[in-house]
Amino acid sequence: MTNAYQAASLNVSLQSPAQPTCAPGPPSFPDVLASVATFALAGVDSREVTVEVDVRRGLPAFSLVGLPDASVREARERVRAALLNSGLDFPLQRITANLAPASVRKAGPSFDLAIAVGLLAAGGQVPPESLHDTALCGELSLSGVLRPVRGTLAAAMGAKRAGYLRTIVPVENASEAALVEGLEVLGVPTLARLVDLLHDRWRPDPPERASCRSPIPEDGPDMADVRGQADAKRALEIAAAGGHNLLMVGPPGAGKTMAARRMPGILPPPSFDEALEITRVHSVAGLGSGGLAAERPFRAPHHTVSAQGLVGGGARPRPGEVTLAHRGVLFLDELAEFSRVALEALRQPMEDGWVEIVRGQHAVSFPARAMLIGACNPCPCAQPARDCNCSESDRRRYQRRLSGPLLDRMDIVCQVSPPPAAELVAARPSTGERSATIRARVVAARAAQRDRLGPMGVMCNADMDGRLSRVHAPVDGATAGRLVRGVESGALSGRGHDRVLRLARTIADLDARGTVSAADIDEALGYRLVTPSKVAA
């Protein structure tokens, strides 16, 4: 973004060549032009929008130009009512508001505040110099109360980047916007208060700046609640430690969902930067809780979700579930029931860590670095193995619904069978490890990975490419021979080979060992599916 455009939009300017602004006669407004800065969402970023308001004599009218969609055009009614209900004047003249750049479509109610303030400035009801270096954003209610909007964090980041010194937002959004350092954030409850603020008659309390170290909620689901399931717990721990994808296979009621829901509790807490990314995404999607996200997200979309719902899209691109799960867990229960189109659409984001959505003239990209946990039944009848009556062809048809390429991206596949009845009904508390204990091991393993891979810009073992995994997970001759046999027999794909190395690296990290042992490779091989086509007829 550059200079000429930016300079023009930086603040309010008043131009009234025809008439002096201090013309007598209260009911008549001068012909004036005001411009106010605000920010519009584009994906998880924001772009600067200048609201220009022109008021001049003529038949009373209020027109809004600059590619507003229906939701933006409605701002006229809200602004008029909000102004009048706040005891402010609404000029009975010809009003034109322009949202520049006029070539970009505008949507949503977050322009209300900037339009209203533009009108006030053009009418001389607020001092224009008070809007210097200030960006505004917010929705108005008819009563003049400011309502919270989506994506305040993204807007505040945009404002900071564009060189603004302060931003005015609805009071509910203030602590979110305050996450941006070096930007003064003013949270305002009503339009009347805003006028006071701009006249320097009132100042809001500085918003609470959320700390990056929020405590882990003690009452969250704990791994100790899961009885038995040693294999599934081990699989979850490895997946958490290395950021690997995981598929749990088992009959309904075996505890797959229960185990998966405990994944965020054993993942390391998000770093400040990660928390900021999570907050920004959730704010854009309207899911934010106001402050900084303390926990990693856990998203569990229903299996009827569309491809668009999963990876994002729409005429006005919205983030999909994979983006909402960014830096957290995307849990797909009943994986075989998801539409094939949706699962196929998931492949690219899983590989790249972001989704690009192209709509007409512009492209939006959303971050999408989530850990995938899938769960499915072993066969269509979904009975425990003992009672299963499915034929091999029934099973194969069912399993074919899980696309091969998706299965190939699953580093860990584990079987979950219902725990013995005695274990379930036992009155005594479970003796299993608590999430906090497991998390401590996971955090240590991640720290080792960061020390090793950080310089290469890689955060965890799952993100290593083929070359890195060969360098950092060296294997001795005999074990290498075993992997070679796997690849030659076709049981392991090339990608599979790299993934086994990465998984073995994580297993060694959990044990705080610097080198990968043959036993690690053996264990890793067991978690990896035999390439589907090689499962004999």
Binding site: G228, Q229, A230, D231, K233, R234, V249, C376, P378, A385, R386, S391, E392, S393, D394, R395, R396, Q399, V413, C414, Q415, S417, P419, R482, R485, I507, A519, D522, E523, L525, G526, Y527, L529, V530, P532, V535, A536, A537
Partner: protein, 382 residues
């Protein structure tokens, strides 16, 4: 060669005489009509196929009679033979010395066998050497599949040809096992030798075409008919010295094969299935009525060659013997066998889950256990 045809001279190198070839193609021509003649309950063409040409046409052709007559008059055996050869097929008639002798014991042996694949290498093996048919349900259990595969592999190692019908399920598994063991895989098809049916098995059809022998009573290009499957079953029973059923439900087509086999006085055998499983009811019933019990491939060899049978199998049996390994591996294998899963194996072996996982991985490499398409461990058949 004349169109009416005379049996080949003894010792002739020719593979099919003109008369038989003409009958083979006539069968192909009238194949769609046969279904109309059979009543819906009895799909077995029975004596129809044994009829001479003219009575056969009368019995079957109906309103296609004239066309059939014309075909008989104008058939050019030389051109037909060349046509077959040109497309890589071989027709062998029952007058040829290459024709599998065991088949001649049928009351209605096929006049011509149309073949594709490694005919030169495998036809002598099939004709002179031992052969076993492995058949069973199209909807097997994992256990049934494992047994069929294991029998196919074991028989291949003992240099016994494995005959089956290239249907889904047990048939396909038997072929796969045999090809795995590098043996003579013989697929007897319900349609022409080039027709992959069911379509899902077309990859396997191609592989048998390259490495084994495809064989049919119908000429190339003919699709299968309902009647041609029981007819195909009689050929399987006729080719094999023993017929082994791995899982067959009541009324299964596999039982038609065993009926033919017992009519021919051949060995009928079955692998015991779960007593409560409906898909093993037919095969278990066979065992009750006196079929030989097959628990492992050695049992088949014993039926064929008597106790102490063939050396090749003995070796493979020793190698795959189940009584090896340290006690921990044994405990893990037993837990997997009992369907207790990995958690159960941890308890019974007294080991943490990572070590059990590593042991299972090594056992898999050694072929003691295997994993299904979704990663569940099962005990591999010895």
């Amino acid at each position: 060669m004349t169109a009416t045809g005379r049996p080949l001279e003894p010792g002739s190198a020719e593979r099919a005489c003109a008369g038989c070839l003409r009958r083979g193609f006539l069968l192909g021509l009238l194949a769609p009509r046969i279904a109309g003649v059979l009543d819906s309950r009895n799909r077995n063409p029975g004596g129809l196929l044994a009829l001479e040409d003219e009575p056969f046409v009368k019995a079957v052709a109906g309103r296609d009679g004239e066309q059939a007559e014309r075909f008989l008059e104008t058939f050019d055996a030389g051109a037909a033979g060349e046509g077959l050869e040109e497309h890589g097929f071989v027709g062998v008639c029952r007058h040829s010395r290459e024709y599998p002798v065991r088949l001649l014991q049928l009351p209605d042996p096929p006049r011509v066998l149309f073949m594709a694949g490694r005919v030169a290498e495998l036809l002598p093996v099939l004709s002179r050497g031992p052969a076993v048919a492995v058949v069973g349900t199209r909807r097997p259990s994992p256990y049934g599949l494992e047994m069929a595969r294991s029998l196919g592999r074991g028989l291949a190692r003992a240099e016994v040809a494995v005959v089956s019908g290239l249907a889904m399920g047990i048939d396909a598994a038997a072929h796969v096992g045999c090809l795995d063991g590098g043996g003579a895989a013989v697929a007897v098809l319900g349609g022409g030798p080039d027709i992959a049916y069911p379509r899902t098995n077309r990859a396997l059809h191609g592989q048998v075409g390259r490495e084994g022998l495809l064989l049919s009573e119908l000429p190339p290009g003919r699709r299968p008919y309902r009647w041609s499957f029981p007819a195909r079953n009689r050929i399987m029973a006729g080719l094999a010295e023993a017929t082994v059923v791995v899982e067959a439900a009541e009324g299964s087509g596999s039982l038609i094969t065993t009926d033919f086999a017992s009519d021919l006085g051949r060995v009928v055998a079955a692998v015991p299935g779960e007593a409560t499983s409906s898909r093993a009811r037919g095969s278990n019933q066979l065992l009750r009525s006196g079929a030989a019990v097959i628990n492992r491939v050695e049992d088949v060899i014993e039926e064929l060659f008597g106790v102490g049978g063939r050396v090749g199998v003995q070796e493979s049996a020793a190698k795959g013997g189940p009584d090896e390994g340290d006690p921990l591996s044994q405990a893990v294998i037993q837990a997997v066998e009992a369907g207790m899963g990995i958690d159960g194996a941890c308890v019974s072996a007294g080991l943490p889950v990572n070590e059990v996982r590593a042991i299972l991985s090594r056992l898999e490499e050694a072929g003691k256990v295997r994993r299904d398409a979704l990663g569940a461990y099962t005990r591999a058949a010895p």
